[in-house]
Amino acid sequence: MNESMQVEIAGLTLKNPLLPASGTYGYGREYLPFFTPDLFGAVVTKGVSVTPWVGNPPPRVYETPSGMLNAIGLQNPGVERFIAEALPFLEPYRTPVIVNVVGKTIEDYVAVVERLNDFPVVSGYELNISCPNVKEGGIAFGTKPDCAFQVTAAVRKATRKPLIVKLSPNVTDIIAIAKAVEEGGADAVSLINTLLGMAIDIRSRKPVLGNVVGGLSGPAVKPVALRMVYQVYKAISIPIIGMGGICSAADALEFIMAGATAVAIGTGMFHDPMQPQKILDGIREFLKDENIGSIAELKGIAHD
């Protein structure tokens, strides 16, 4: 293990600071032709709900300048099939597994977490309270500080495992939400989820996406995400997992310098499935070139 890349987040020791963004990596199996889950400091799974969710009608994705819109709608097979199929696949790998949890009610979130608590392969949870593509629940929890607090506190009571809460950028004041989930007992926050957007097909005169609106991701959102990480870093004392358009080692380093302890790649992996490896190589090279002993030394350095 290369110790210069090691970071601590929410009580977990990660061998490197790079994670896959939830929803872009499935449960890990599909990327095996390119790399194994052990490439990442931790795996973050696609969202898991109590019962299966079918997701939104197609079309679900559409490319936009330097980015893409998606409205998948958190399609997932539910926690029981996740236990039967995804956990046995992930179990042999050594990298920690963070399960992204989605729900329509507070009870839904709690039920998923309680069902997964006894599985040692589950290292922690990331609560998705910020998906813009699911009408009830999801985003509703992420846009009001008191709701964000309540869901975080309820899940906190249900588990002693590391608890990360993923925040929405589609709010007036992301700092208020970040403070609320910190107060609710979160060990870390992930930011940002996608920015709400849309596209119209001028030939059919109709919205392109089956869901009408969708989440914008990719390089187009990076400056917004970076600004939010920078602002939130100053306001809270728990660690941040930074994400939003990260496609290169330089992007990842910017987020770390803005205050992120770890970073996630999502849409960047769609640009090139070998991008995660390239980012890790690039960060190592930067540390060597700049004679920096540990990536942790760079955290929040842009604030000094």
Binding site: G23, T24, Y25, G26, E30, Y31, P33, F34, K46, V54, G55, P57, P58, P59, R60, V61, Y62, E63, P65, S66, G67, M68, N70, I72, Q75, G218, P219, C247, T267, M269, F270, H271, D272, P273, M274
Partner: protein, 258 residues
């Protein structure tokens, strides 16, 4: 599935907006089956826009040379960027992706129904099964949209053409042409690739004549590996991923919206 830098060994402009490329990529050619596709990276080195790779159907597989050929039409920013690549350039690709065609042992007389740029995967299929009894029904807007007819001739597969403007073959829909021929001499199996309205009509014909068969779909895709669930289509068994559960589906399985 492999990722590689493929060398472009041939580039031909087949007509306005239509391109033929032959790519040297032995690792991928070795694995490729008819009906599969490759993902071609469209941004130039060091740039991120256009962001996503483009899924392009395989037209010919040459294991001996270690090459794959593709034919595509320029429809947007991504395909226009691919069309700018010259012979001798390298391009980053990964694949083969998708299930491809699997023919049952006995297929009898097979109708291949191609609409416009849906032709290439059907050619890879016909070339892979030289002993089967194929007939191609090939429809397009106009004569200039019907590509590679000499190759079909060389393969010994008879073809019937249909155009919207009557500039080549039958004046009308390719599905109407198929129906005429079917009434004279029936088929036992149907395989189609083309625009959605044509696929829907093919599905209705298959139901009418009780024919088994397959449809090859296309969709906007993001990851191209089955992870993002972005390219799903509606089937009788729920949402399925076009990229890895397809692009080839049973002819009765796809649910078209009205």
């Amino acid at each position: 599935m492999r990722q590689t830098e493929a060398l472009i060994v041939e580039r031909t402009v087949l007509g306005p907006g239509y391109y033929y490329y032959r790519l040297l990529c032995p690792e991928i050619a070795e694995l490729a089956k008819p009906g599969q596709f490759i993902e071609i990276k469209v941004s130039s080195e060091g740039t991120l826009d256009p962001l996503l790779s483009r899924p392009i159907s395989i037209y010919r597989i040459d294991r001996k040379e270690g090459s794959l050929a593709v034919i595509f039409k320029t429809v947007g920013r991504g395909t226009r960027r691919i069309a700018e690549l010259k012979m001798g350039n390298q391009v980053s690709i990964f694949g083969p992706v998708g299930n491809g065609f699997t023919l049952p042992e006995e297929t009898g007389r097979i109708a291949l129904i191609a609409g416009g740029i849906g032709m290439p995967p059907l050619f890879s299929l016909a070339e892979h099964y030289p002993e089967r009894d194929f007939t191609l029904f090939y429809g397009g807007r106009s004569a200039g949209d019907l590509l590679g007819l000499e190759a079909w001739e060389k393969l010994g597969v008879p073809y019937r053409l249909a155009t919207d403007d009557g500039s080549a073959g039958f004046h009308g829909l390719v599905t109407a042409l198929f129906e005429k021929e079917y009434e004279a001499r029936p088929f036992d199996y149907m395989i189609a690739c083309g625009p959605k309205p044509m696929l829907r009509a093919v599905q209705q014909l298959a139901a009418k004549y009780r024919l088994p068969g397959a449809l090859s779909l296309e969709a906007y895709m993001a990851c191209g590996v089955g992870a993002c669930l972005g390219c799903t289509c509606v089937t009788t068994k729920g949402y399925k991923r076009v990229c890895v559960d397809g692009p080839v589906f049973d002819i009765s399985e796809v649910a078209f919206d009205e």
